[in-house]
Subunit: 210 residues, 4 copies
DNA sequence: GATGAATGAGAGTTCATTCAT
DNA sequence: CATGAATGAACTCTCATTCAT
């Protein structure tokens, strides 16, 4: 018996606030469990039944929180992406200094390391054709400003073919992300990081910030 | 009517060799069709019925050639990988010259461009860890000699941290592969290729060999 | 604030009678809402959740008023039928004059027009035999006196085969009911009504009474 | 072992014709069973599992023959309706004589009596809102020529208000159909039939043709 | 009395796989 | 060798009903 119910010695309905909090917590739990499974098994190989079981709820209840399996996927993508993006802390307005560039790279590595599960999930989704097109779209659109800033940075640094250079840098970052995601836990990405810094922030000391 | 049947104006039993060849051809057709579908729709979204239909055979017959859908997947992975690997034509014995390194890079890009379907499939499979673990293992093992040769090359070229440099190069190559696979058809990878050549084959002209 | 609570500026416990009245009102509201939905969507396509929502109560509370969805259906059928029957205002005792017969026909049409929702619901239910068998029984039993009176009327009017005539009249009335229920809103039933009057109340002017 | 398989003492695949025949037979069986259940329980109250069970097949197989439960319903409606309509043998071109009108009425009664299950099904569907709108549309469209012919007949017979008369006749026929469908097996519709004939084919002997 | 989270049985549907022919 | 009808388990999703509060 809770305090509320003791006062009048009578069962009382939960307040809307209590319900709301319960909902949020359970919602979060379902999303966590689903992320875990989607990341490790893939979307199609993960059944709603399995998610419900791992979240200690009935299959039916899941549909009290999410409209469909697809909706669950979208919510995870959206929330996860939002968190990641907020953490990235892009310098929207000004131009990137070399220090800021290094900071950006380090933040990127840190974010991926901290959200491996989410990035695995993301990678699965992006590789799986036809699953949720909007995820890819969302990703691409969100990175437009990042790309713009990096482009300006490369121009400023005096590269003769900044567009080509951006492709190269972009490839390297994508490849490094894969390395991080699919390598053993103790994998040390710092050589790659240092090499990037040496190439694109020549005048900066390459102290590890990670 | 075939030539054979005309000669005697009577159906002659085919020789065991002919049967075996027909089997191999049909097997190959099934695998081609399945690769096509797996690559474009994904493994789970591709039904055995669809594969059989596209291969112009009955569902039942497919199971005469492959034990299961999973087995079909493994066979495709194995054969496809073998072909790719044979094409890579690594200089197993000697040491890589700068020209040979550039040739290696160009071959790599060429192979990926020529087998996009297979690489897409491969990427899907690798992301779906539990489907075929052995594929990843196979991939890693097969690349051991490649890695060794590249390592020697980087040492020879005088890089102070060849292991770190290898990580970097490896990241870049992986990232470039992704770019190739998931970009529009007319995507031009040459800036990335040129940059790699400029970094790792300094004394070589960067004529496109692709 | 209600008058009662103003008088003493203090919430007074409601009397049992007030509680009972509130219960009855809520019960009625639930039944109204359910009738509306059953009539427009059908029984199976109407969820308890939807009924509760439209009645502005929780799902749980609904089960405080009705044992089950089926029970709710039965109650609606019973009450609705009772109301209709009371409105029909059959001349139980005496014999029907021609004027009274015409009045009866006009009342019938009026009742159906005024309770289309209920009759639609009723029609659905009657077609779904196993849902509530008792409804049909109830209907038939309730109409026994009506049938008796009409039979007497037809005898009195001098029809040679009053039983057969009753079948015919009954068919016509049922068919006319269907027309009324499933035709557009502006459908005019008066030709059918006039024809009935002409056939069965020959000496009466056929002024519209509806 | 069949004759075919004995000849060569070797299992041979069925010919396309054999398969087609098997399919048609099973298809028909499923439709019969489904019609029976839809007619007695209603569409929503009949589960695919129940249909499959009664048809002695697995649930899955049903989907080898029909795309969905809805599709099954449509097929039943279509085929059943087609059969009914073909039997109705409407005199499309000429004008109806009194004898032909009587014949039409008798055929109508006969058809309903012979296909009670189908008409029950049909009635259920039409009463159930939102199930399959196209069924109602189909019905209405199909009856346009019938209505036209009856209208002409009533004009020819000299009724002053043929449109109103048609409404009345139509109501009567609908009501009679309900009587036939929902009355006990031994129910005798002939009084209603005779009355119709007496009203609309005055100069014709009312010999029973049923 | 009143809430809505939670359940669980069952709905329609899909599909890898088997098997009589 | 070859067919495709047939199966059955598993899938996503719905919903009447219950129950702690």
């Amino acid at each position: 018996m809770t305090v509320r119910s003791v006062i009048k010695n009578k069962a009382m309905p939960r307040t809307p606030e209590q319900y709301e909090q319960m909902r949020q917590e359970k919602r979060r739990k379902i999303m966590d469990v689903a992320l875990e499974l989607f990341a490790s098994k893939g979307y199609h190989a993960t059944s709603v039944a399995k998610i419900a079981e791992k979240a200690d709820i009935s299959k039916g209840l899941l549909y009290n929180y999410f409209e469909s399996k697809d909706d669950l996927l979208k919510e995870i993508a959206q929330v996860g992406f939002q968190e990641v993006y907020e953490n990235l802390d892009i310098n929207h307005d000004g131009v990137l200094t070399e220090e800021e560039f290094v900071y950006f790279i380090d933040r990127l590595i840190e974010i991926i390391n901290k959200n491996k599960k989410f990035w695995l999930f993301y990678t699965h989704i992006l590789m799986q054709p036809n699953v949720v097109d909007f995820v890819g779209t969302q990703l691409r659109e969100s990175f437009v400003p990042v790309v713009q800033i990096l482009m300006n940075y490369l121009k400023e640094e005096g590269f003769e073919d900044p567009a080509g250079e951006l492709f190269f840098l972009s490839s390297t970052l994508k490849g490094a992300t894969l390395q991080l995601l699919f390598s053993p836990l103790d994998f040390d990405i710092s050589p790659v990081r240092d090499r990037i810094v040496k190439l694109y922030a020549k005048n900066t000391t390459v102290d590890h910030k990670i």
